[in-house]
Structures are given as structure tokens and as C-alpha cells.
């Protein structure tokens, strides 16, 4: 069939980096630290979370069942669709961000990093890309920012074109291998693609961010249902958000039945404001009974400064496939804010 042959021929023209594929295969089967490519979405231990919650310093990769879950279960989309430019978050962000105000122009494309902040888990950058001709499609950068002496497991951005300004984007970088009080960021993309073209250039940014001051709130409360335990460990409250560490513990009998288990949170403060609580990174628990025993860090964005308490409603999805899944809702846990 002509269509079949043509399609196959076209796809077969895609060049394949065989050596790198073989390296991934080899590493995966050795059960060693998987070779990480830039911004691998395989989550890894967050050093801060581990030290805080378990006192461990060893590292391991989280179960790839996590990847399965997010790819198989449509209901997960509700959390992942969280738009980081949410209005309430935006306003708060304006107040606490560090003014970076750096520009770099190369081959007619100007990049500005206007503001940024680091809440101890996530680095957030506000940036603008513009040209004299305007930009119709979201720009694709050859490279994401790097954090010196640190590796990153997640990064992404969103934004929109603003007439007369350019593509205004907000980037989130999380899953740092080592959370420090200060992060040093370098961003040197060699090309930017947009509107069906790729512009090579020499954009360069280097700046530091201090960790936003926060108050640690110990929680250590757990709820259990149907073989899954969710434990809220602690939270760090800043002026604008609440970063929470929580742990899911899955009974082996549950994991025998379900390929993936993933606990999430939603929250409502005492003023009635409802928040989604998207997680920014997850960590495996070395030596645990189940590879689904995971510790998550999640963030409540745009926390109302007048709120004095917040109630978390944990829920978990147990899944084997897109159609084969169950949801568990747990008893709520209320946390007093500082």
C-alpha cells in the first residue's frame, strides 16, 4: 500500500542515536543510577526532603510506575493542568520576586529575564522573548537554564504572546538535587525556535537567587484507607505559598493488585479559598516494601495571607491502565498556619 510504504519510509528517515539508546538500556538493566538526560522527567530524591523527613542521604530513582500513572490516567490532568499564571499567584509573585532585569540580544531576538524567585524547592522565572517582527508561536529553547552544582529533574514553562511586548512566559524549575540557600543559575541557549524557524544565537544569563524566607511547620499526621497511608510530614510557609512534604505508604498487597499508586492533595483554607496542590517533585524510599512508597513535595500557590489554617484533603489513584483504576478519598487533615 502506497500510504503505508511512504509513511514508513518517512519515519525511517529519522536519525537514531543508537549509542545513547544502548546506554539507556544498559543503565536501566544494571539498576544503577539511570543516565540522566537534560530535564529527565524521571523524578529523583530531593535532598532537602530526604534530610528533612528521613535523615537519609542516599539517592534512588522513583518507581517508573509514576510515569505510567501520569500517562495512563486522565484524571491526573486536573492537577497537571494547573496553570502557573493563575491570577492570584501572579499578583503575589509580583510582590516577592527578585528583580533580575537582564537582557540578552542575539541575531535580532531579545530575551529578558525580568523577575525570579526560589522558594527552596522551585525556581520560578518570568521571561520575555521578542523580535521586531513579533512571535506567533511559543518559543522553543535549545536548552533550559542550569543550576550550578545542581541537577534538575523537572522544568517547563507556559505563557502567551502579548502585543507590543513579546512572548511573556513563566518557567518553573524543580526537582533540584541539592537545595541550598542560594542557587546560581546560568542559561545559555544556542538557538530559539519559533514561527517555523530556528534562530542560532548567543544568549547568556547568569544570576543568583536567595531562598525565600519561610517558616517550617511540623505536621506529622497520617490517614489510612484500603492499604494506602498518606502522611503529611511538614510544610514551609512563605508570604505567598505553602510548600508541603508528604509521604505515601502502600501495602504490598495493594501494589500486587495495582501497578501505580499516587497520592495527591487538594486544600481549602479557613476562609473558604480552594487550592490545587500540584507536586513539584517525588522521591522513592530506598529499602521500602513497595516501590510505590513515595515522598512528594507539593506547593499551594497564591496562599491567602489572611488564612489562619488550611485543610488538606488527600486522595489517591490506584491504576493499571487508562480504564482500570480506583480512587481513594481520605479523611482531611487541618494544619494551623503561622
Amino acid at each position: 500500500m502506497t500510504e503505508l510504504n511512504n509513511f514508513k519510509k518517512a519515519i525511517d528517515e529519522i536519525p537514531v542515536p543508537l549509542e545513547r539508546l544502548d546506554a539507556i538500556l544498559s543503565d536501566s538493566f544494571k539498576k544503577k543510577k539511570v543516565k540522566r538526560f537534560q530535564f529527565s522527567r524521571i523524578l529523583k530524591y530531593s535532598a532537602a526532603a530526604v534530610i528533612l523527613s528521613f535523615g537519609l542521604i542516599s539517592s534512588a530513582y522513583v518507581s517508573p510506575a509514576f510515569a505510567n500513572f501520569i500517562t495512563q490516567i486522565p484524571v491526573m490532568g486536573h492537577v497537571f493542568e494547573q496553570f502557573i499564571l493563575k491570577e492570584s499567584y501572579y499578583a503575589a509573585y509580583e510582590e516577592i520576586s527578585t528583580d533580575i532585569g537582564v537582557s540578552s540580544i542575539s541575531n535580532g531576538v531579545q530575551m529578558d529575564i525580568e523577575k525570579a524567585f526560589f522558594d527552596g524547592n522551585t525556581i520560578t522565572l518570568g521571561f520575555v522573548v521578542h523580535t521586531d517582527e513579533g512571535i506567533e508561536t511559543a518559543p522553543l529553547f535549545e536548552k533550559y537554564p542550569e543550576v550550578i552544582n545542581n541537577s534538575i529533574s523537572n522544568a517547563g514553562y507556559d505563557g502567551e504572546y502579548v502585543e507590543g511586548v513579546g512572548f511573556v512566559g513563566m518557567m518553573e524549575i524543580s526537582g533540584l538535587s541539592d537545595t541550598k540557600n542560594t542557587v546560581n543559575i546560568v542559561w545559555k541557549p544556542k538557538s530559539i525556535s519559533f514561527d517555523d524557524k530556528t534562530i542560532d544565537g548567543n544568549w547568556r544569563f547568569a544570576f543568583s537567587l536567595d531562598k525565600l524566607e519561610g517558616i517550617l511547620i511540623p505536621i506529622n499526621e497520617k490517614v489510612e484507607k484500603d492499604g494506602v497511608t498518606v502522611q503529611l510530614i511538614d510544610a514551609t510557609q512563605t508570604d505567598v505559598n505553602l510548600s508541603i512534604n508528604y509521604h505515601q505508604d502502600v501495602a504490598p498487597s495493594v501494589h500486587d493488585k495495582w501497578m501505580a499508586v499516587e497520592a495527591e492533595l487538594r486544600a481549602i483554607d479557613n476562609l473558604g479559598n480552594e487550592y490545587e496542590v500540584p507536586y513539584t517533585s517525588g522521591t522513592g524510599t530506598k529499602g521500602s516494601d513497595s516501590s510505590e512508597d513515595l515522598t512528594w513535595n507539593a506547593t499551594v500557590h497564591g496562599l491567602d495571607p489572611k488564612a489562619t489554617s488550611i485543610t488538606f484533603y488527600p486522595f489517591a489513584h490506584l491504576s493499571n491502565s487508562q480504564t482500570d483504576w480506583e480512587r481513594i478519598d481520605f479523611e482531611p487533615i487541618t494544619v494551623e498556619l503561622e
Binding site: 519515519i11 537514531v16 530535564f39 500517562t71 495512563q72 507556559d158
Partner: protein
């Protein structure tokens, strides 16, 4: 029983060497599938890595050895779609990697245009085309795999081909478009 069926059965029972052999056989196809969605090497490698890890984790749950390849392809496609969705920057453009790829292997203009036409397809059409024409599944099998009505899948397949034809006609008002 074919050699592959034996290998799959071994893999399902926990024979990692057998699974490694199977994944080595499938690696190019998986990578090309991932690349056709994300159009850059970094993300395609990332998807490949996730697919491999997931295969290792869940191979014991594969019930029908004959569906190994399809099962793997489904993981790869789902992972690719998730990466695109999370990036929220699914842009219809020719990325830097694609240009580099074209330069590296000296694609003819015609092949490059066809490949770009495939890249530009909406993901829902691309998935059906990949499963139909790259994985050689029937529309019935695709419908089952995607959990969609047969009519919907066939319709997507037809639309996908129409879109490619239309795209190619923008470049070649001749045989090239008619072949599709």
C-alpha cells in the same frame, strides 16, 4: 511458537536478559515514534528512557506475548503525549533538532516535506497513523487499543491522510501529494 514469543514469555517471568534483547529489537522504533511527537533528541531520549523503565517495571503484567510490541508502543505513545501536554508548547514548527537531522542525513526535499507534514499533524491523527502505518495494526486493533469507537478511528485515519495530502499539495501540486 516464534523466537520472540519465547523471549516475551521469558521476560514476563522475570528473565531480564530476554527483556533486554526484546527492547534492543524495538529501540529504534520506539525512538522514532517518540521523535515524531516531540521533534527533538533530548525529549525523545527522555521518552525512550521512561518507556524502558516502565517496561521493566510492568512486563510481568503483560498477559498476551503476541501483544508485546503493541504494548510497548502504547507506553511510548502515552509517554510522548504526556510530555507534550506537560510542556504545553506543542508548536507547529520545525525544531532545531529536525533541521540538524535533515542536514546530517541529507534528506531529499520530498522526504523532508513528508516528514514535516507528519510532524505537523495533530497528535490524535498522528497516533492513529503511527499505529496503522508504522505499527501495522488494523483499525479494529487501534480502536481497541485507544478505547475509541472503530468509526472514530477510521475517520481519524482518513482525515490524517487528507491532511498530509493537503500539506504536500502546498509544496508539490503533483505526484507527491497524489501518492498519499
Amino acid at each position: 511458537m516464534t523466537v520472540n514469543s519465547k523471549l516475551v514469555k521469558k521476560a514476563v517471568k522475570g528473565d531480564q536478559e530476554a527483556l533486554l534483547t526484546l527492547l534492543q529489537q524495538e529501540r529504534e522504533k520506539l525512538y522514532k515514534t517518540a521523535f515524531s511527537y516531540v521533534r527533538n533528541e533530548t525529549d525523545a531520549l527522555d521518552i525512550f528512557q521512561q518507556t524502558v523503565l516502565l517496561a521493566i517495571e510492568s512486563i510481568h503484567q503483560l498477559r498476551e506475548p503476541k501483544f508485546f510490541s503493541t504494548w510497548l508502543m502504547k507506553i511510548c505513545i502515552n509517554t510522548s503525549l504526556e510530555v507534550l501536554r506537560k510542556r504545553k508548547k506543542v508548536v507547529v514548527m520545525q525544531g532545531a533538532s529536525m533541521e540538524k537531522a535533515a542536514a546530517d542525513i541529507e534528506l531529499s526535499d520530498e522526504k523532508l516535506d513528508l516528514l514535516n507534514a507528519i510532524y505537523r499533524l495533530d497528535e490524535k491523527y498522528k497516533t492513529v497513523l503511527l499505529l496503522r502505518y508504522y505499527e501495522d495494526l488494523t483499525f479494529e486493533q487501534i480502536a481497541e487499543l485507544l478505547g475509541e469507537p472503530l468509526g472514530t478511528v477510521k475517520s481519524k485515519g482518513k482525515r490524517a491522510l487528507s491532511k498530509i495530502k493537503a500539506s504536500l499539495k502546498g509544496v508539490y501540486a503533483d505526484d507527491r501529494a497524489q501518492q498519499f
